[in-house]
Each structure stands twice: as C-alpha cells, then as structure tokens.
Symmetry: C2
Subunit: 272 residues, 2 copies
C-alpha cells in the first residue's frame, strides 16, 4: 500500500515529476531523459497500470484520493495529496481530472519483434502533432491494428496529450521506432509485409480496390497532416492507395484517413 | 475595391466584430445574435468568400494585406490593417495566420430543402464540441456526404474553431437543424431516407454488413463523444449499426467513427 503524503509547498522536490507540465518543449526533452511519462485522469492511470507500467508516484487532490483508493492500496509508489490550487501551481494548469501519475517508461520493443506476430501495422512518417498521434492510436486499437511503427521524427506517443487523446490506447497497441527510417521500411517489407502508402495522388489505387479483401501482413503508411508521405517513403511502398474524395477536397485529417484505412484493411469487401 | 484602414486603437468600435475571440461563451452568444461568423487564415477566408458569404470586414496584419491583395481588391467591405500586437490586444490571442474576416451569416436552409436532392446525409445529436463538429464536416466533405443535419443542441458549425478544423468544409457541405429533434428525424425518414444509427451496442449490425453496397438515401446518425445517441434517437432509427472493434476498446472518437461510416456507405462492398 502506498504512503499518502500531504504536500503544501509547490517547490517540494518530490513533486518534480509534475512541474511545468504546460511547457511542451521542456517536457518533450525532460520526460524521455528522465524515463517517465505522465498519465492524467482516473481511466488513463488505471489503463497504464493495467498495461504493466510501474508507477513512480501519483499526485492527487483529496477528492481523487478517495476515488483512486484501490489503486493507492495496490501501489508501492508514494502518493502526494495536494489542494487543487497547489496542483495548478505545480503543473501550470487547472487539473480538471485531479489525478496525475508519473509512470516509468520501458524500453521500446524492436520493430522486428513487433512484426513477428503482427498481422496489420500502421507506419507513421513525421506525424509530429501529439493530438494526431493520440487519435491514430485510439483508432488503431479500436480497429484492430496490431502495432504502430514510427519514423524517428514522429511525436512521442507517451507525451501527456497523446496519452489523453488516445484514451490510453498507446498502452494497448505496441509501438516501435523505424530508425533509420528508410532501412526500417525495407525491414518491414523483408518481414513479409506489403507496404500500402496512403496518398491523395490521383494515380494511386482507390483504397476500396486495394483492400478488396481483409488484408493480413499489411503495413499502412501515413504521412503528416499537410505534407503527407515523403517522396522517398512513397517510393519505398509496394502500392500507393488513395481514399476516394468528393467535393474537390484534397485531403482528410490524418487521424480520419487512418481510421478509414484501418477499417478498410480490417474489413475488406468479401465476396457477397 | 475595399478601403484599407490602418487602426491603432484597440478600442476602435470598428473592430468590434473581432473582440474577445477567446471567450467561447461570449462569442457563442454574440455571433449568431449579431449575424456574423469569423473566418481565420487565408485559405479559410477564400473558401468562405468562394462559397458566397458576404464579408462585413477583414482584420489583417500588414504582411497579410499583401498576400490577400486580390481578395481586398474584390470586396467592398472595409479592411482594417493592424500590427500583430494590436491584433492580439483586440482578439485576446496571438493571431498566427494574421488574417481574420468577419462574414455575414445566411439563414440556414430547411432540412426538407436539403433532403430533396441529397443522397447521403450525416445526422448529429448533441455533438457540442467545436473541434469534433469541424472534423466531422471535413470528413463529410471529403467522403461525399451531401449534407449534415444537426440536433438543436449541437455546436455551431460556423464558430471559428469549427470552421478552422473543418478547413472550410462547413461552407461546402450544407447544414440544417432538425428542430424539434425527434419530429425532425421522422421527417428525414418520411423524405425517403433510411436511418442508420451508429452505436457500440453489441446487438447492432456490423457496419460492413449493413453497408454491403454503396448506399443512397441513407442518413447516418452519430451521437456525442462519450454518451452516444440517446435512447429516443436509437429508437427512431431503422437500423442500429456498429463499427467492429478490437482490443476491448469500447468506442472511437466521434470524428473517427464518422469518417469510417461515411467511407463505408460511400464505397460499399460491390460484388467482386
């Protein structure tokens, strides 16, 4: 059972894991370097714990210390109880869901290990927006993708905003980095996956043609909002596919495109 | 050609359309009451204009006055040129894309008018998040939905955030309110549309079964993030459909669910 520690000094060094949470640039550097990530809100904290992440500490307002009783009883990590005002002083924002946990990062698996058992994976290039990363993971989990592979410059799936938008799906769907990126893509193909690259390019195959049947051993490549996949990544793909568009619209949001593509390859269009 | 007016006083009454833009509650009341909405950024302003909305005025920083030269030449509305600092003082935030336009609202069409020529429509209940509304419109435009029908308590598609997230798709896809809500749903069916209600309910028909063929005269009903469609709305549907989910996930984000469903009914699974 965790120790319950009331803290009243915003400069208490034991709260260091939670300082400056609104400073994205600072936290992006600090969290991987210090081996931690922050889970926010009851559900997400429970999901991180259930996925086997070890807790470094929790920061709770008194109301949430009651709600989280069983989690507290179950962890050896210290639990800091603070007033809502102090939580805001420390973190830099009003913590609506008065419960934060600092969790220990684990080494990422190698892409090769993830690919060994996966049937369908998402491959993201340069998706550097935490909201989009989180949304892609949430859809990947719901729509049966077995893993997400990331180019080195993709945003961190364990950054607080990604975790929150994903509703904890970043814990359910394993992810790995492809580094170096193009060699990594070649390794995905060498592992027996067909590389489908999503692009708005008109000469690409319509997704509903490409995914006529439920697909196995397929890697769905998606690029960043706006720029899309790089020419080199498109060149490395087996097939370029496009989502048929109407109204002269040139692109979907990357999270929406991902959801559509995940659904298409998971569902296929079996013979009637 | 528009008059170019340099303004240096943040309290100049001619800038009233742009004051307090970060106060969501205030703007939600003011904008419909004053018959305006705010378009932000070059692309979105051009799309509003191209969709035939009349301009009340523009607020530009000098840099953007150059970029928007042709729009300025083309509008009889006054154009206020202000420093980036003054733009921030007036609006309450740092206007990254230094171009704002106040546009005149038009009366919404009646649902019956919209339904007369539509093949596929989205029907939203209680979606009161501007980001989600914008994302749904963007996907609706891209994936060939002909209109969006909204329950009375849905958020305003012409609110600045909705417009921005939609990338201007709120101008391309007509929308109407169903008011009163349940009578409105009955009217959609009476107009010859089959009502498909998206729900995570296990007894619902899988979407890929329901949308075996490209569907016409179909109305796709979606509820708010979290709560989903109300029991009454579900009861008014012809068929309840669900997106098959994996990993024990219980729901998709409403924008992702919408994208998947729009794709499914637009594409179908034609006989191979």
């Amino acid at each position: 059972m965790a120790e319950l520690i009331t803290v009243e000094d915003p400069d208490d060094p034991r709260l260091h894991d939670y300082t400056g949470l609104t400073d994205v640039e600072l936290r992006r550097r600090r969290e991987p370097a210090e081996g931690l990530f922050v889970a926010e809100g009851e559900k997400v904290i429970r999901r991180a714990r259930d996925a086997g992440y070890a807790m470094r500490s929790m920061l709770l307002t008194p109301k949430w210390a009651d709600v989280m009783r069983d989690v507290i009883d179950d962890t050896p990590a210290p639990v800091y109880v603070v007033s809502p005002g102090l939580a805001e002083q420390v973190t830099g924002y009003h913590v609506h869901r008065g419960a934060l946990a600092s969790m220990r990062r684990r080494p990422l698996p190698a892409a090769a290990d993830v690919l060994r058992t996966a049937r369908r994976v998402a491959v993201l290039e340069s998706v550097n927006d935490h909201t989009n990363i989180g949304a892609v993971f949430r859809s990947a989990a719901a729509l049966g993708m077995d893993a997400v592979l990331l180019s080195p410059d993709c945003a961190d799936p364990l950054y607080r905003r990604s975790v929150k938008v994903s509703m904890g799906a970043v814990f359910a769907v394993p992810h790995a980095r492809l580094d170096p990126w193009l060699d990594g893509l070649a390794a995905v193909r060498a592992a027996g996956f067909r590389l489908l690259a999503l692009t708005p390019g008109e000469r690409a195959t319509p997704l509903d043609e490409a995914a006529r049947h439920r697909m196995d051993r397929v890697a769905l490549m998606l690029g960043a909002e706006g720029t899309g996949l790089s020419a080199k990544a498109l060149g490395a793909a087996d097939t370029q596919v496009r989502i048929p568009m109407a109204h002269g619209v040139d692109s979907l949001n990357v999270a929406a495109a991902a959801a559509v593509a995940f659904y298409a390859v998971a569902t296929g269009r079996p013979e009637s």
